[in-house]
């Protein structure tokens, strides 16, 4: 994914606040994959994930007039919207999120990858997703923010509404827990 400079994001946000639809479209291009990745790990199907992702950006468009860039960074702001959208989705569907079925596994292999290697990766992905399901919601969120969204501690803290120290401790516990779970799965296998 193209990583736009923070100032470029700020300009796009400013234009979007002024009602520039094209600028908002570029913000979508920048954040859609991260939002989808976060949502997909928490809802039951790709269709639901796409619906929630669309709802996140529509909500962001509705609310962007009230966004204040002196406070929350835009990425943290939209993460909060995504997190709330997932919670709303839980409430609506009254079902717990499942990990992505293997059949829905990411497009991690290109066509040239040998079949056995592709299967190997899919098995590993399934194990990781299963292990992540055993983490708390906050632990999954902090791993997502730090490793997938690329947030630093400060932005992660703002996105989660916690102190940097609390996020650091949360990340430590999440990493240790996930590492232990993956090790146990390997031992079982």
């Amino acid at each position: 994914m193209t990583v736009l400079a923070e100032r470029h994001i700020d300009r796009l946000v400013a234009k979007s606040i002024a009602g520039d639809a094209r600028a908002f479209g570029k913000l979508y291009d920048e954040f859609a994959e991260r939002v989808y990745a976060f949502v997909r790990g928490r809802v039951g199907s790709t269709e639901d994930a796409e619906d929630v992702t669309a709802a996140v950006f529509l909500k962001a468009w509705e609310a962007i007039g009230g966004y204040d860039d002196r406070g929350l960074p835009f990425g943290a702001w939209i993460f909060r919207i995504a997190r709330n959208a997932v919670i709303d989705s839980y409430r609506r569907t009254s079902r717990n999120s499942d990990c992505a079925p293997v059949g829905d596994a990411p497009e991690m292999a290109d066509g040239s990858m040998p079949v056995d290697e592709s299967v190997f990766i899919r098995v590993r992905v399934e194990e990781t997703l299963t292990a992540m399901e055993l983490l708390t919601e906050e632990q999954r969120s902090v791993l997502m923010l730090r490793f997938v969204w690329g947030f630093d501690l400060k932005d992660s803290a703002q996105a989660l509404g916690k102190s940097e120290g609390a996020v650091k401790a949360l990340q430590h516990r999440a990493v240790r827990s996930l590492a232990r779970l993956l090790a146990e799965e390997n031992d079982d296998g």
Binding site: R40, P106, V125, V175
Partner: protein, 238 residues
């Protein structure tokens, strides 16, 4: 498969595992979601732009109508104390609200100031009540001061006084005397003739000779619009 040892470099291994497990958004699905989102966003943006254009159009029509005397003839000719006078003032206030800051606003304030001067002249000819005269004079000065705000300080006040003097000079003799009396009362800050009108505590000081523009004119036969003619509580408009 790599082995995870919780005690050795968990961070990199977990990072790799998490990144590797992320369900990526296929390009065609990303475009499909984008289309859904942008159809609403684009429609909203167009509606918002249409609303802005409409507001500007309404503002332009309102300004034009007001400048051309769009307020009904009867209201436009009304004087303080007349039932239609509040319509005239509200129309002016609405126009000020929609005008952008700058030269156009100053010109309109000046137009209002001239109206106030004309009203004073006509009131003096008609033998208006002293309290109303004093209030009209205060309004005139408040508006003139705001209209001349760009020149600032005494220049604006001097210009306002010159404008007022024209009204005095053009008034017939009996009215001229009454008008001079009202000016002296205003200059001295006397509540004199307007005492009992309940209007002396007005809060829109405007820098016009240190006077205060009156607040709502209860008991004086006409009511002020909710926003003072200066529109900004006395600070000179740009």
């Amino acid at each position: 498969m790599d082995r995870f040892d919780p005690d050795i470099d968990d961070l990199d291994a977990v990072r790799d595992a998490v990144l590797g497990s992320m369900v990526r958004l296929p390009a065609d699905r990303k475009r499909a979601i984008r289309s859904r989102v942008m159809s609403t966003v684009t429609r909203d943006a167009m509606l918002a732009r249409a609303r802005v254009v409409f507001r500007h159009a309404v503002a332009a029509v309102t300004v034009t109508a007001t400048l051309l005397g769009g307020v009904s003839y009867a209201a436009a000719r009304s004087l303080p104390g007349d039932p239609l006078y509040s319509i005239k003032r509200v129309s002016e206030e609405l126009t000020l609200q929609v005008l952008p800051d700058g030269q156009l606003q100053s010109r309109f304030l000046f137009t209002i100031a001239v109206r106030r001067a004309d009203e004073i002249a006509r009131m003096s000819i008609g033998g208006a009540d002293s309290a109303l005269m004093l209030r009209a004079l205060e309004q005139f000065r408040a508006t003139t001061s705001a209209a001349y705000g760009d020149s600032g300080g005494s220049d604006g006040t001097d210009a306002a006084e010159a404008r007022l003097q024209e009204s005095v000079d053009s008034a017939p003799q009996p009215a001229r005397t009454q008008l001079q009396k009202a000016i002296e009362d205003a200059d001295s800050g006397s509540s004199g003739p307007s005492s009992g009108s309940g209007s002396e505590s007005g809060g829109s000081g405007n820098g016009a000779g240190g006077q205060q523009a009156p607040s709502s004119g209860s008991g004086s036969g006409w009511s002020e619009p909710s926003v003072d003619a200066t529109g900004n509580g006395g600070a000179a408009r740009p």
